[in-house]
């Protein structure tokens, strides 16, 4: 290799077109529910309609009478065919700890309580609608965080204390204190929650969109009490996931049991509304932030306390104070996270799960501080920039935050901003400019890959990673092509199948950081087989030819920095999770960025528009600027959506979601998204991992909501601390 670790290359760093693009646009790509299996029966879920209680009786007569109905599963009919297993948060596999159809207990609205299996989807649906349930209602905490008797629990391991916050805050000449909140939001991936199960003698194949096929395989084995070697999970294409397809949900075991009972393949496609409770979601959060600073803006005291809604059954929290406490230099810090347990389905991961809401709180508070100090918000970040995080004093592996601010500010033309709120009015439109920091921890985990090189120059690379639309196929092909010195068109890729070498969950923006090194290691092994260890890519094919070997196939597994050695067996049991970020003993790893937005608010009718957004991100090495551009811009658009549009509305009477469909759950449409620009700030980080990549999947979302609320303040002089921001809030 030449002197620089990441030399210019013909493949890596190039905007290689999407590997599976053609298959997707031609409809050739088979998503889980597209797979055709002979004699498939169709399943349809029936969901609970109350927040909490018990099922006193089912009347299934009308449902059974629907022509074509084959079977109806309820807690009464399936007995204990599905075992109680620990949830992912308890060291298990499944997204929540409730046993599917485990009892007559109802813990939330939208809980699957019956499954109808029929010859057609239509018959299953009709029958499911004819199921009559008698409930016994129990007192419930349907008002969510507002329920007076909901129990709040502080998660002690997440508590952070540095220096003496109280004294420093009391002494600070400049202070800001405020409360913030974010609403429930749902990922709504375009592809719905589908599952197909087929048994061939005692072997089960599951077709399901997943961010972690091995989690589904091993979790299902545990639930069904069968050997994991009898289960194969296939997820060739995933039509968006965003955290919602991260871990096993209750539906999969139900479909597997149904297929076994009737001895036929069974297919379930949950409806859009059912999808709101089939998997986890971003739950409501609240925040209390206090900042103390000197007159130059240097932080002397920072406090961030978060409250997150969870279910009574599972204390799930994203708890990103571990990050907001480590972003800026500050000698006195206090941070805590609490859960508030209510009668709702268990929350889960949604793109930038903790980072989005916690950044909203902190980055809005910083803007309030900048305003109080009459200081440019970029300069406030600059005086608090740091090379070491303030909690443990650990170094950042690399940190290009101010470079991101400077590049984004230049592209945005920030220097034209006049700081006085309301001062940039343009005719009938109030104009505001705002900015905020984006951050996302850099994670990676154990992964394995197999690479096969043929004498004709063809390469096949395989690893049970996941294509969620983010560009995994393309990335894998690029890395193998680069390492072996073949054109990327000569590489074929397999992923999303438990029969392949196992890889990490496609979560925490860690796929490339985890799988690329495994592919590189397998290519190293090919070099060694050819006796050209350390050779440049250009020397490999000649060596292959000279060797006379027809095919070389090598397997490698890699364990990133900071991952304990004994964790490798977890890779082979569906238990590999992202490690890194703020959880390393010797350093912290972050991708960082700067978000800038312009908002326009009509002076009379108050519609809020975002004509312009610029984000600059430093995320290590960019393997494919085309797919990464999609990630950044898509993330930023979602950020706009998270601030102005998305809000799962909840009726306090039964904790039901009243806008659980894509007509009423607002997302931006094309007309709302006008000019969104993502800048990739060059950054070389030789420490994070061998590939030098930091995650790009989630950071684009982070900080946008704060930038928007800051811009709304700049436009109107009104500080809005609760999302989403709607026109009635700026009246």
């Amino acid at each position: 290799m030449s002197e620089t670790l990441f030399p210019q290359s013909s493949t890596l760093g190039q905007p290689v077109p999407r590997y599976e693009g053609r298959a997707k646009v031609t409809g050739e790509a088979r998503y889980a529910s597209d797979v055709r299996l002979a004699r498939t029966a169709h399943a349809y879920l029936h969901m609970s309609a109350i927040a909490r209680g018990t099922i006193e009786a089912f009347d299934l007569a009308a449902a059974r009478a629907v022509p074509g109905v084959i079977d109806i599963l309820t807690h009464e009919t399936i007995g204990d065919q599905i075992r109680q297993t620990p949830a992912i948060y308890q060291g298990g596999y499944i997204s929540d700890s409730r046993r599917p159809l485990g009892s007559a207990e109802i813990a939330n609205w939208g809980q699957p309580i019956a499954v109808v299996v029929a010859e057609t989807f239509e018959a299953a649906r009709e029958a499911a609608h004819r199921i009559d349930v008698t409930y016994k209602l129990h007192p419930s905490l349907a008002a969510g965080m507002n329920s007076p008797s909901a129990t709040t629990q502080t998660l002690e391991p997440m508590t952070i204390g540095v220096g003496d916050f109280d004294a420093a805050y009391a002494a600070a000449p400049v202070k800001v204190e405020a409360h913030y909140s974010t609403p429930a939001q749902h990922q709504n991936p375009m592809e719905q929650f589908a599952t197909q199960c087929v048994w061939e003698s005692d072997r089960l194949t599951v077709h399901e969109p997943s961010q972690y096929v091995n989690n589904v395989k091993f979790g299902l084995a545990e639930q069904l009490g069968i050997g994991a070697e009898r289960i194969r999970v296939i997820s060739t294409y995933v039509g968006g996931a965003f955290g919602a397809k991260g871990f096993l949900t209750q539906r999969t075991a139900l479909v597997a049991i149904a297929a076994r009972r009737i001895g036929r393949p069974v297919k379930l496609v949950a409806t859009r509304e059912q999808g709101f409770t089939v998997s986890g979601y971003r739950a409501e959060t609240r925040h209390h932030v206090q900042l103390g600073a000197d007159s130059e803006g240097r932080l002397s005291a920072l406090r961030h306390e978060g409250w997150e809604l969870t279910s009574r059954g599972d204390a799930v929290a994203m708890g990103a104070v571990s990050m907001t406490a480590r972003l800026y230099a500050c000698p006195n810090i206090s941070a805590r996270v609490n859960t508030v347990a209510t009668d709702r389905s268990t929350p889960g991961f949604m793109r930038a799960p903790g980072e989005m809401p916690y950044a909203f709180a902190l980055e809005t508070a910083l803007d309030e501080l900048a305003h109080t100090l009459d200081m440019d918000p970029i300069e406030l970040r600059r005086v608090n920039d740091t090379r070491t995080e303030p909690v443990g004093g650990l170094p950042y592996t690399s940190r290009s935050l101010m470079r991101c601010f400077d590049e984004a500010a230049a592209a945005f033309d920030w220097k034209r901003r006049t700081s006085q709120p309301g001062s940039m009015r343009d005719g009938d439109w109030l104009v505001g400019w705002g900015c905020a920091t984006a951050f996302y921890p850099t994670y990676a985990g154990n992964s394995a890959a197999r690479v096969r090189l043929s004498a004709n120059g063809r390469v096949h690379v395989s690893s049970a990673g996941h294509e969620l639309g983010q560009g995994m196929y393309t990335m894998m092909a690029q890395v193998a092509a680069e390492e072996l010195g073949v054109p990327v068109e000569r590489v074929t890729v397999s992923l999303g199948d438990t029969d392949l070498p196992p890889a990490i969950v496609a979560g925490g923006s860690s796929s490339t950081a985890s799988v690329a090194p495994a592919i590189m290691a397998a290519c190293d092994a090919i070099r060694r087989r050819l006796g050209v260890d350390g050779a440049s890519p250009a020397e490999i094919m000649p060596a292959m030819e000279a060797s006379g070997i027809g095919v070389i196939e090598e397997f490698a597994e890699t364990r990133p920095h900071g991952v304990p050695p004994d964790s490798m067996k977890g890779l082979y049991r569906g238990k590999t999770f992202p490690v890194g970020g703020v959880h390393l003993p010797d350093r912290v790893q972050f991708a960082l960025g700067a978000q800038f937005v312009e908002v326009r608010i009509h002076a009379l009718t108050h519609e809020i528009r975002v004509p312009r957004a610029v984000g600059a991100f430093a995320a290590g090495r960019i393997i494919n600027p085309r797919t990464v551009h999609g990630q950044f811009v898509g993330g930023m658009i979602w950020g706009i959506s998270s601030a102005l549009h998305e809000h799962t509305e909840i009726d306090d009477r039964n904790a039901s979601y009243i806008n659980a469909n894509l007509a009423d759950y607002l997302l931006p449409v094309n007309a709302d998204i006008i000019d969104v620009k993502a800048i990739m700030v060059p950054e070389e980080d030789r420490l994070v991992n061998r590939a030098g990549v930091k995650g790009v999947g989630e950071i684009g979302v982070v900080g946008v909501a704060a930038a928007i609320s800051n811009a709304v303040f700049h436009a109107t002089g009104r500080r809005l601390r609760d999302l989403p921001i709607r026109l009635e809030h700026v009246m």
Binding site: H602, L604, L644, H645, I658, L666, V669, L727, M731
Partner: protein
Amino acid sequence: MRDILAAEPDSSVAFLAGGTTVLDLMKLEVIRPERVIDLNALRGEYGHIRWDGVSLRLGAFARMAEVAAHPDVLAHYPVIAQSLSLAASAQLRNMASLGGNVLQRTRCAYFRDTSWSACNKRVPGSGCAALEGANRSHAVLGTSDHCIATYPGDFAQALLALDASVNVAGPRGSRRLPFASLHRRPGTIPHLETNLLSGEIITEFVVPSGAWTRRSLYLKIRDRQSYEFAVASAAVAVDLDGDVVRNARIALGGVATVPWRALEAEAALRGRPLTAEVARTAARAAFADATPQSHNAFKVELGQSTLVRALLQAASMEFQP
């Protein structure tokens, strides 16, 4: 036509035009017709768009998209073209008919979700879940203790403001009624939404022209820029003598239980110069009787500012002489 009208009319029959409301509500099981009668055979006869210099005749089966893009409509009735092109999505506008459009049903979540037992509109006498529920999108004008659901459409406001009439045909013959008397306020029987008699179908809308039709527009305020129902909207048509209002026609959407004619506001404008001040006075008059609910009080002010903006915008419209 005769066959369709001969069908024994009763509540178990649903007429189908573009189907974008009917199929939606059938899938939700909000309506469960035993028979669906496809009216599209009438499209040949009643799919027309005809402007004769005096009035505009629109067949009930003309598609929203066709009418929105029609040169005569664009030239002579901007408010009609805009009310249609700002509605729904391109796909829906390509399917949906004018007759179906004016008869679309409310978007009230409790009406559309049958797991809520209390909805007087869906199940007469069952109560109203929205009164104590999420009612940000509900109406502030024309409500009753029995129903506060918003009339969601856009086009109807244009027809109402322009004093259109509706031709209907039914088992007992044809008749014409003013568009203003097509919809009924909820009162104590919110499930009865129109004054159409059983089995009657809409065949045509007739829109007269006047000095005000060219100076007309539809302003729609919503939570996103496109593909979304109005939070508040205003159809306005103004005839000016210099600055002074000779005649103004106003209908409001997004804020009322039915397409809402703001006669008080029209009266407040007549004979006055169309200034911001006068527009505000007129808007206040339009909302004098508003009844806000727990989550939608903002609509009283927003509805007024929407009307003010629409009027000022209309006043500033310029024409080739």
